[in-house]
Amino acid sequence: MSGRENGSASAERDTALAAYALRLGDDALVASHRLAELAARGPQLEEDVALANISLDLLGQARSLLTYAGSLEERLTGVLRTEDDLAYLRDEDQFANCRLVELPNTDFAFTVARQFLFSAYQFELYTALAGSADGTLAGIAGKAVKEVAYHRDHASGWTVRLGDGTEESSERMAAALEAAWPYTGELFASDPVFRAVAGAGFGADPPELRPAWDAFVDGVLAEAGLARPEVPPITGPAGMGGRQGVHTEAFGYLLAEMQHLHRSHPGAAW
């Protein structure tokens, strides 16, 4: 192989890897933000502590992943974007998170459902990534998988409690799962970026994560006495969704709130 081919092949890999890190980082950032909205609004103090804990873990993951995405991008473009540049200065259509994590907290059951389905996905993802051929990703995932194991336990515990608890809680939990479920399809959809990082041994191709996720989710639902929702995945315009920057309407408001202060003082340090 000539040096030139080598260079362009590695540039292609870096491009895919940067896009991949950004997707994972955006997932964690937005999931963290939705949980952070619940500060001082939990059903009991213990839950305020737990939700803040999970939000903080996810924010930590987001910061590592966005910083890494920014540094990969710099290698390609010569321009560095920091974690804050990426979080605060991109527009809605440049965010590549899945839509599941941006769905608003309509009630505690929905927060639990969203976190349960997402943590179960992140657990399989980070488990796979802990063995990534990319040392940085492997390091981030190796640390994150321990955190996510707790998130998954926590959300599973509530799924069971609410599913099994009272008539009202069981109805609310079933409705929440049904509302969140159509957005899980996006977690397991593949595309050229995913295939490129999986092919290079850096990342996981999402469809491969599905069987383990299914088995785990089904197990918890059975324990909770809840049926697996029979609802088809949501489609996007021309098959596009969060990964392609086409988000739900609620997402624009999330970003408006999150970015407003930062953008009001261009170039300021905080």
Binding site: A40, R41, Q44, L45, F108, G165, T166, A268
Partner: protein, 325 residues
């Protein structure tokens, strides 16, 4: 309310217990939950610990107000962690109150019914990001000044809770100072934001120590019981002496024309807070009294079905375990 002194002296056995209690207080020993204590001592502690616990959890609101708008991811993480700490402080303190025979649910009900207080400082709004800095620096700073002596409070569980809490509060104060320090060295807009915020929070933070000693109702007895170690005015002075040099380090001014070093006293002289405003806020007419309480009640009421579900599931699980055994 009956005078605890008279009804407790009624039985010789109580007299002996009272003597033992008095002896422990005189020797500055710790009273533990298993020890006999006069009813008035217990009531005073319950009132104070409950008010303190309520302050921790109501205090989550003004700062929580800025979590989703925090201007950098680092600041956002620090702020989430801080608000989480305050929830933890609430938990420690409700547990301390529980050792006196009153449960968290009961105390929360009293808070929600407006029958127990929380610190009036949280009835002021956080209208700018700099307020997160000012709260950390001034409000957590005042809280530490108040609370460090409570680490030696005569009631063991309260004193121990305060040791843990004070460690975290001093982090909070440093983080608040750091926010203001950064703003004060930032753009003109940031600097203005910092100064304007300190101007708004200075006087309310001085009020956190309570009314002047000449008008303080609970102080004397609390001092005799080693619950309170220093008077309101002593603590206020200590706080002013601490923040004046810190304000200089920040490069910000304090909105008090009377501030001046007194070589004679070895302390800073300072002005008199607006005690009418203090009374108004205490009576419920501050900018956020209704909002804070309403927020608490809403969170509690909206969580009722969740807590109920958790209880129902626990009961069902126990029943299933029994059936299987």
């Amino acid at each position: 309310m009956t005078d605890p002194g008279t009804d407790e002296a009624a039985h010789p056995q109580d007299e002996a217990r009272q003597r033992r209690f008095d002896g422990m207080i005189a020797a500055d020993e710790r009273i533990e939950p298993r020890d006999w204590m006069p009813d008035a001592y217990r009531r005073t502690l319950i009132r104070q610990i409950a008010q303190h616990a309520h302050s921790e959890i109501i205090g989550m609101q003004p700062e929580g107000n800025w979590i989703t708008r925090a201007p950098s991811l680092r600041r956002k993480a620090v702020l989430i962690a801080k608000v989480q700490d305050e929830a933890g402080h609430g938990l420690y303190l409700y547990s301390a109150a529980e050792t006196l025979g009153v449960g968290r649910d009961e105390l929360l009900d009293l808070l929600h019914q407006g029958r127990q207080r929380y610190s009036s400082i949280f009835n002021y709004p956080t209208v700018t990001w700099a307020d997160v800095g000012a709260i950390g620096w001034l409000v957590d700073g005042a809280a530490i000044t108040n609370q460090v002596p409570l680490c030696r409070c005569s009631y063991g569980p309260y004193a121990r809770a305060m040791v843990r809490i004070c460690k975290e509060e001093s982090f909070h104060q440093r983080q608040g100072f750091d926010i203001l320090y950064t703003l004060a060295r930032g753009t003109d807009g940031q600097r203005r934001m910092a100064q304007e915020s300190v101007d708004r929070w200075y006087w309310p933070s001085l009020m956190m120590f309570g009314p002047p000693d000449s008008e303080s109702t609970h102080s004397e007895q609390s001092m005799a019981w080693n619950i309170k170690r220093f008077s309101n005015d002593e603590l206020r002075q200590r706080f002013v002496d601490m923040i004046v040099p810190q304000a200089e380090a920040l490069g910000l001014t304090l909105p008090d024309p009377a501030l001046a070093w007194s070589a004679e006293r070895g302390h800073y002289d300072f002005g008199t807070p607006d005690w009418d405003e203090f009374m108004q806020v205490l009576k419920g007419n501050g900018p956020c009294n209704r909002q804070r309480l309403e927020h608490r009640r809403t969170a509690h009421e909206e969580g009722a079905w969740v807590r109920e579900a958790a209880r129902a599931h626990a009961a069902k699980s126990r029943a299933r375990e029994r059936a299987a055994a």
